[in-house]
């Protein structure tokens, strides 16, 4: 007997893994596109997402075990075969719901469907080892602490070493573990159109389980939503999706209603909108970005949220525009960065080439210095990133302040349990369950120093 085959969750996950490892696509975008293309229903879409993210989050660990039982080095296997092995191994080790036997059979079928029937024996042999030894897996490699943590939590060794130097062994391990966990989505109430109580009711009516954020007012943790953007309250602009850390940038900036604000690297616009909401939509926010198509997206989002004080402009954050000189009460420079603070949401960010990252501090410094020229005397300058590396954070602002004596850090207060800061703060996922972020608040002195 035969069944009607719908395109399977596993095939979709494989397609995503091949795109991510081959063509430098990012996992979240690739998943969204591939799920839509294969017309997966919601349950299969959830499984495809779990499989693709699970493999990416545990890639180095899975490859280590595959290497123990495979005569060929994992790196020498064809990408299709290697990724089918990883998918099968992930299901056997991490998904209790799926019987090992089913995982092995599916993988064997998959490799045939993808035109590699000769590899069926290899897949079968290696995955059977996983299924027999799942309770007594080979010990992790000996070697340095960084090496062991690197394999255990599948983070590159250079990153683990950086973290060990910066925050020590215990916190590093918590950070790494936290990056492989599933996080709820945080949304922020749009006070311009509604209030948290009403929004909570609307979400419940839409079948979404929403829980008040434990310490961030007006925000909710939501789960089991499927595609959030299809919900009625989203379409009506009653909320926006934003991590607590990004929300804290607006709280650190404390914009006064009616003020003139510049957001020099604004897309996709979350921080501009968060500021606009805090300003009661009074004043002017100029949201700049270097990509024209992102300006359109921002304008549409602003419209959805009922925000009229945001205007967009096409501008490279490093290039000076004389018309804006010393015009702004507040400038926000949320600069491009390595993104190593948001690994829990974009698991493949960890595998970025560290060589490419080394150029970032220079660009970040250029953008910050340029943004500083738009701040009026007595105005505020905010520098933020979604990374936790010192080189992109404190080192950039220290260097900026050393060359700009007319600016100084200014302490600011965030909601408890954070409280008062000394003018800058690094937020860590393992500490407060936020994205990893850096926020620095600086003020331009009213008089030139003598």
């Amino acid at each position: 007997m035969s069944e009607v085959k719908r395109s399977s969750a596993r095939d979709t996950a494989l397609e995503v893994l091949l795109q991510v490892s081959g063509a430098n696509a990012w996992s979240d975008g690739s998943l969204k596109r591939t799920i839509a293309k294969n017309k997966l229903e919601s349950r299969d879409a959830a499984l495809a997402t779990r499989l693709a993210y699970g493999v990416i989050q545990n890639r180095m660990l899975l490859d280590y075990y595959i290497g123990c039982w495979c005569t060929q080095r994992p790196g020498h296997l064809e990408p299709v075969i290697l990724n089918i092995l990883r998918l099968g191994a992930y299901q056997i080790l991490f998904m209790d719901r799926i019987p090992s036997r089913a995982a092995v059979n599916e993988a064997v079928e998959m490799v045939k469907r993808h035109g590699r029937p000769k590899a069926a024996g290899l897949i079968n042999a290696v995955l059977r080892k996983f299924s027999v030894h799942r309770e007594d897996m080979s010990p992790l490699p000996d070697g340095s602490l960084a090496e062991r943590l690197s394999v255990r939590y599948s983070h590159p060794q250079w990153l683990v070493q950086h973290l060990l130097d910066q925050i020590g062994e215990e916190e590093t391990e918590r950070f790494l573990r936290c990056n492989n966990e599933i996080v709820p989505t945080t949304i922020q109430t749009n006070y311009l159109l509604t209030d948290p109580d009403t929004l909570e009711k609307e979400l419940h009516q839409a079948g979404v389980s929403a829980e008040m954020h434990p310490w961030l007012g007006g925000c909710f943790l939501v789960s089991g939503t499927g595609d959030l953007e299809r919900l009625e309250p989203f379409q009506q602009g009653h909320f926006m999706v934003q991590d607590p850390a990004a929300r804290l940038v607006a709280l650190a900036a404390q914009p006064v209603p009616g003020s003139r604000v510049m957001d020099v690297c604004a897309a996709p616009g979350g921080k501009s909108f968060s500021l606009a909401i805090d300003m009661g939509d009074r004043g002017q926010i100029l949201s700049c970005d270097i990509h024209p198509h992102k300006l359109n997206l921002m304008e549409r989002s602003a419209q959805r949220l009922g925000i009229s004080c945001v205007r967009t402009a096409l501008a490279d954050g490093r290039e000076f525009h004389a018309v804006w000189q010393e015009q702004a009460d507040l400038v926000v420079a949320d600069v491009p960065c390595s993104g190593l603070g948001i690994i829990r949401k974009k698991p493949d960010i960890r595998y970025k080439d560290p060589g490419e990252l080394s150029r970032l501090p220079e660009i970040q410094g250029q953008i910050l210095s340029n943004a500083a020229r738009y701040v009026r005397p007595g105005g505020v300058l905010i520098y933020s990133t979604c990374t936790v590396l010192r080189a992109e954070n404190e080192a950039v602002t220290d260097d900026f302040l050393a060359h700009h004596p007319d600016f100084e850090r200014e302490s600011f207060t965030l909601p408890q349990p954070i409280g008062e800061t000394e003018g800058h703060i690094t937020l860590w996922p393992q500490r407060l369950d936020t994205d990893g972020f850096y926020i620095c608040r600086m003020r331009k002195k009213t008089e030139e120093p003598e």
């Binding site: 007997m1 035969s2 069944e3 009607v4 085959k5 719908r6 229903e41 919601s42 349950r43 019987p99 036997r101 089913a102 059979n105 599916e106 064997v108 079928e109 045939k112 469907r113």
Partner: protein, 168 residues
């Protein structure tokens, strides 16, 4: 591991009544192993011996845990309830029809060494037991359905099923 060729509707062997297996020997074991490989390779959920040209009462069925059950000289000894749904056949590729079957089916059969056992299952696997055992008497599912669905009807049917699944 050897794959056997699956014969298609129109071949005479699919309309014949199959003979009882009396010798539980190496030839039977090879047939069973080949049928399992052929089933996995085809992506189906059940396969009967006449579908690979052998007129003996032998079939293999994959259950929802993806375990393959070998059935020799099988008989349905009890049924319960009713299910109506889409059914297809490896010997009638690409064609599907709506067939009503019992929802729970209990089968008595011999294993590859001749020992009798009973197995009971529901849903898709119950449907599959009925479908394969009918092959052994020369019947195809197409005899049990009013008409085979066109591509459009099939797409529509799957869409409706998905909507019902979503409601659950």
């Amino acid at each position: 591991m050897a794959l056997r060729k699956i014969v298609l509707q129109g071949e005479e062997c699919l309309t014949k009544k199959c003979r009882v297996v009396t010798d539980f020997n190496a030839r039977l074991h090879t047939l069973l192993d080949d049928m399992k490989d052929t089933l996995i390779d085809s992506g189906g959920v059940g396969l009967a011996a006449p579908q690979v040209g052998i007129l003996r009462r032998v079939c293999v069925v994959m259950n929802e845990d993806d375990e393959i059950i070998e059935l020799i000289n099988p008989e349905i000894v009890a049924t319960e309830g009713e299910q109506t749904g889409l059914e297809g056949c490896l010997s009638v590729p690409g064609k599907y029809g709506i067939v009503t079957r019992p929802n729970v089916v209990r089968v008595r059969a011999q294993d590859r060494d001749g020992a009798w056992f009973e197995v009971e299952d529901e849903g898709l696997t119950a449907r599959c037991f009925c479908h394969e055992i009918e092959h052994l008497d020369g019947h195809l599912f197409v005899e049990r359905t009013d008409h085979l669905l066109t591509d459009e009807e099939l797409q529509e049917y799957i869409r409706q099923q998905e909507e019902e699944d979503d409601k659950e």
